[in-house]
Structures are given as structure tokens and as C-alpha cells.
């Protein structure tokens, strides 16, 4: 069979290819092809762009290109107070905004040395676990949709809808919650919200099992994932994997257990771990984690004591709005905190939580001013996308869709 040589490629096309700085074309394309996948592609979970080098349908090279959703949050954080940044954390991993809120305030509290009342800690645990369930449900649903099983998406979104209803009762917002505050949470958890959370976790197991029955016995689903996108334990660690993706490769590592924060040392839960490291294992880990999170929420609802929901530190914790309008002292403190911010001591801290996608960390540098001198967001999706070339090499194009779905990136977080 005749192959196209360098001379056969139209000089204009060759020049265009060589001009594109994102791809490096050392040699002329023989029977290879460059395919641009995304940023507008239903399977890239947002605006991820992949440049693929193909031989027929086999991927021989892949260059991920991120930054299409870069909003400069780290720069913005340097120019606003610690309180003002809370709503922005909602927009990072927009599938589980509550977990981001928790991560941010924990980092600020570590920097400022604020101790939070126990009830507020349990409320934070509950919302973080609900966020994890919501995130994993979306991950499983959209993952199944990517490989051709549409029904599961509708069923998992139906379950997620109930979580959004709980958040709606809790803080009045369904999607971008901004529910946590430095030193506590915005308002106490209402009895209806807690009752609904209990009802939700009780009915979740049955509904999740229903979804799993659709997938686990589905031959198309299994065969499209089994043995695809394998990453070994050593590679996964070297690539900085955390969260469900790392646990699917056989490393039993969970920050809730390794460096306990909030009250995670008081609850009992298992860390689901699989050793295969392929797409199927990553799906199994997520499904099992949903059950473990439901278990944690059940314990949290039992253990949650009555009491304060905000630390009693008027200089750094915002007072309740009712008090601001009725008491002079609170009005002054509110004015000072809103206008000048809290002034944590000079220093730098890094605090990471087990977010729903992996380790979500904030690195904060304070110069003793009302706004951070530096804020770095350590987002798990960014790190996971980096390993895509390793995962997709030698696979088919249709496998890429499954692999992206299985590592579950969210571009709001990857691009910051």
C-alpha cells in the first residue's frame, strides 16, 4: 500500500501543522492523523482539549490542553478577604460545592488557629459526605452515559436531586451553597434538613443497588471498561493520584484516616480498595464509597450534639445577622470583619481534605493582613488529567471516552 510521504502533504497544510505550538510535529504525517478532541465535546466533562495522534484508530500520542476555564482564582484570592473567597470555592468543583467550602474554611481556621464547636464540625462532616455522594453519583451516571448506558444517568441524577433538596433546606441554595463560615457554619441545621438527610441515606442503598444491577450485569458496560486505562500502584503514586483513583490502584490511602480532621476519628468506615487499577475498578470504588459515606452520615446524625454552631471569637467570626441589626457590639465587629477582614498571624499553612475527587488542598500564606498574600489551590482533577497520555496510549478512541469518565475530572477545579 502506498503511504503518503512528506512531499505529498500539501505545503500549506504542513506549514499550518508546524505553526501550531501546542503540538510538536517532528516528522510529516505518514499514515498518522492528528485529531483534536474538545474543548467542546460531550465526553470531556467540560472544556478539556485533547490533541491525539492516531494511527488508524489507535492512539499513539496524546497532549492534554487545559486552561479554557482559567479564571485566575489564585490571583483573585490575593485581593479579597478570607470571607469573600468562600463563594468562589463553590465554583471550583461545582459538583460538590459544599466540600470545597469545608476545605477552604478548614485551611483558614488552621492558619488563624480557630477552634470550631463540635456541632458545627458534625454539620460540616455531614455536608461534606453528602457532597461526596452527589459527586460520585454524577460520576457514575455520566460515566455510564459515556459508554452508552443512558438510564443510569437519569436514576443517579434523581438521587442527587434529593441531596440538592437537603442543601436547599439547609442554606437556601441548591447549587452554589457557600454554607460554611470561618469558625462554624452559616446557620444551624434545621430538624427538617436532618430528618431529610436520614430519610435520604436510608433509601439510598436500595436505589443505588438498582443502578448497580443495571451496570454490573451489563456485558457491554463491563467489556468496555475491564482492563482499560490500567495504571499501576507505583505509577499512580508517582503521578500524584489521590482519592478514589488511587484506591482503585491498590493503595489504601484516605486523608480522613491518614490525617484525621473534623471528627472523622470518631466514626467508623471502611476504605474501599481495589487492586486492578482499571476503569472498572475506579467505578467499583466510587460505588462502594457512596455506601461508606451513607454509613458515615448515619453515624454523624446520631453523634451530633446540640450546642453552638459558631466559635465565640468576635474578632474573627461573623456574628449572626439578627444580632448585627439589634446589638451595637456585633454591628461594630461585623463592620470590621467585612471591611478589613480577619487578620491571621504571619505564617503559612497547607490543609487538605479528602474531597470527592481526591485530595483538595489550600496553601495559604499570610502576612498578617486581612487578605491572603498567596493562595494556592491544589486541585485533584488537574493532577489526574496529567496522567491521561499514560492511560490512553495504545488504546482506541472510544476507550478515551471511558478513561476520561473513569478519572472523573471537573474542569472548574482543574482550571481554577
Amino acid at each position: 500500500m502506498d503511504r503518503l510521504t512528506k512531499d505529498d502533504v500539501h505545503p500549506k497544510i504542513l506549514q499550518k501543522l508546524l505553526e501550531d505550538t501546542d503540538i510538536t510535529v517532528e516528522d510529516a504525517l505518514e499514515n498518522e492523523m492528528i485529531l483534536n478532541m474538545g474543548p467542546q465535546h460531550p465526553a470531556t466533562h467540560g472544556v478539556l482539549r485533547l490533541l491525539l495522534r492516531l494511527d488508524g484508530e489507535t492512539v499513539i500520542g496524546c497532549v492534554p490542553d487545559v486552561g479554557y476555564l482559567h479564571r485566575g482564582y489564585e490571583k483573585m484570592a490575593e485581593n479579597m478577604s478570607y470571607y469573600e473567597f468562600i463563594p468562589h470555592t463553590d465554583r471550583l468543583d461545582y459538583i460538590s460545592p459544599m466540600a470545597n467550602n469545608v476545605a477552604w474554611v478548614l485551611a483558614v481556621e488552621k492558619l488563624a488557629g480557630i477552634e470550631v464547636p463540635v456541632r458545627a464540625q458534625y454539620i460540616r462532616m455531614m455536608i461534606a459526605e453528602l457532597a461526596r455522594i452527589a459527586s460520585h453519583l454524577v460520576a457514575i451516571g455520566s460515566f455510564a452515559m459515556d459508554v452508552g448506558a443512558l438510564t443510569v444517568l437519569l436514576w443517579t441524577f434523581r438521587e442527587r436531586e434529593k441531596i440538592l433538596d437537603i442543601w436547599d433546606i439547609l442554606c437556601g441554595a441548591r447549587f452554589t451553597n457557600s454554607y460554611t463560615r470561618i469558625g462554624g457554619v452559616a446557620n444551624d441545621a434545621q430538624p427538617e434538613a436532618l430528618a431529610k438527610a436520614k430519610w435520604f441515606v436510608d433509601q439510598l442503598d436500595g436505589n443505588l443497588a438498582e443502578c448497580e444491577r443495571l451496570l454490573n450485569t451489563n456485558r457491554i458496560f463491563i467489556e468496555r471498561l475491564d482492563g482499560i486505562g490500567v495504571i499501576s500502584k507505583e505509577d499512580a503514586l508517582s503521578y500524584g493520584y489521590t482519592g478514589p483513583n488511587l484506591r482503585a490502584s491498590g493503595v489504601e490511602f484516605d486523608l480522613r484516616r491518614a490525617t484525621p480532621y473534623l471528627q472523622y476519628d470518631k466514626v467508623d468506615f471502611k476504605i474501599p480498595t481495589f487492586t486492578e487499577g482499571d476503569c472498572l475498578a475506579r467505578y467499583f470504588v466510587r460505588a462502594d464509597e457512596v455506601r461508606e459515606s451513607a454509613k458515615i452520615i448515619r453515624q454523624v446524625l446520631q453523634l451530633m450534639p446540640q450546642g453552638e454552631i459558631k466559635a465565640n471569637l468576635p474578632k474573627s467570626v461573623l456574628p449572626q445577622k439578627v444580632e448585627v441589626y439589634s446589638k451595637m457590639e456585633e454591628l461594630i465587629h461585623d463592620f470590621m470583619i467585612v471591611n478589613f477582614g480577619i487578620n491571621p498571624p504571619v505564617g503559612e499553612v497547607y490543609h487538605a481534605i479528602e474531597g470527592s475527587k481526591g485530595e483538595l488542598g489550600f496553601y495559604l500564606v499570610s502576612k498578617g493582613e486581612g487578605h491572603p498574600w498567596k493562595c494556592k489551590i491544589r486541585s485533584p482533577s488537574f493532577i489526574h488529567i496529567q496522567s491521561l497520555p499514560h492511560l490512553v496510549k495504545g488504546r482506541m478512541i472510544s476507550d478515551i471516552v471511558a478513561i476520561i469518565g473513569s478519572i472523573d475530572p471537573v474542569m472548574g477545579e482543574a482550571d481554577k
Partner: protein, 162 residues
């Protein structure tokens, strides 16, 4: 021996010339060293069988604006064996704005160093693929440097021609 003492002792024994400086804030253990030693120190911490810092969580930099050594490159590494997080720091001056890459030690630092380069303009020597990651390739500024205005620079991102 306590882990922090063990780490400091081991580093002192193996790298006597690295200008090591240990500090602690909010229970986080910081090690500062001369930037020339970044690669051997990272390699040592990863491969030492008593420490095993297998996970590199984060690489970033801090711009101190008017300080003599303007930038500090910060690494957060984690040992799964001890469940312990260590912070490594190395100062980089603006006149010699470069430091060795550690992407041969942890693959994950490849993109994180690219991000640091993109945002601060710190070059990473021997990096396999040092390109901008968030900003377009032809962008001339480094957005997270303190002199870059919050509103951006008009005209710095050319629009496509009609």
C-alpha cells in the same frame, strides 16, 4: 526517635552543605535549603527506606515582591508510611530565576512546575516539556507576580483577526 528529628538528622548527615534550615508552624514541619540541592534532597527523601515520601502533593511558588530572594519555591510531600507531610522550600532570586526540576523524582511535578512557570516565570532546568499551561503560548506576562495588575493588561491577549 521522633520523625521530625529523624528527618532533620538524616538530611544534616547527607547534605551538610545545603544550608538547611528547619522551622515549624501550626505543626507543619518546614525544611529550607539551597536551591542547588533540590534534586538530590527530593530523590533522597523519596527513596530512603525509612522515610518514603512517595507522594508529591503540590509544587508552587511564593512571590515576596520586594525581598532580596524574591521567590520561594514550595514543595509539599507526603509519606504514606508515616502519614506525615513535609514542606520543602528553596529560595530563587529574580536575577537567576531558575531551579532544577524534580519531575524525574515525581512525575506529577511535571505539570505543577509548568503551572509555576506559567504563573511566576520561574524556569525549571532540565524540565522535559516546559510550556505555559493555562495562559496562551504567546502571552508575555506572568500573572501571579505581584506587579501584574488584578484587572489584567489591556491588549495583552490579542483577539483573533476578523
Amino acid at each position: 526517635m521522633e520523625l521530625k528529628e529523624l528527618i532533620s538528622q538524616k538530611l544534616k548527615d547527607n547534605f551538610p552543605q545545603a544550608e538547611l534550615d528547619f522551622s515549624e508552624f501550626r505543626n507543619e514541619f518546614n525544611v529550607k535549603f539551597n536551591k542547588k540541592f533540590v534534586n538530590p534532597i527530593c530523590k533522597f527523601l523519596r527513596e530512603d527506606s525509612e522515610l518514603e515520601f512517595l507522594l508529591c502533593e503540590d509544587v508552587t511558588a511564593v512571590d515576596w515582591a520586594k525581598r532580596k530572594n524574591r521567590f520561594t519555591v514550595v514543595y509539599h510531600i507526603f509519606s504514606l508510611k508515616h502519614n506525615f507531610r513535609l514542606v520543602l522550600k528553596a529560595d530563587v532570586d529574580e536575577s537567576d530565576c531558575a531551579i532544577d526540576t524534580v519531575s524525574s523524582v515525581w512525575k506529577t511535578s511535571n505539570w505543577q512546575e509548568r503551572e509555576t512557570y506559567d504563573m511566576y516565570g520561574i524556569k525549571f532546568n532540565n524540565h522535559p516539556d516546559l510550556r505555559r499551561i493555562y495562559m496562551p503560548e504567546e502571552f508575555e506576562y506572568y500573572p501571579l507576580r505581584k506587579e501584574f495588575p488584578l484587572l489584567g493588561i489591556p491588549g495583552s491577549l490579542p483577539l483573533p483577526k476578523k
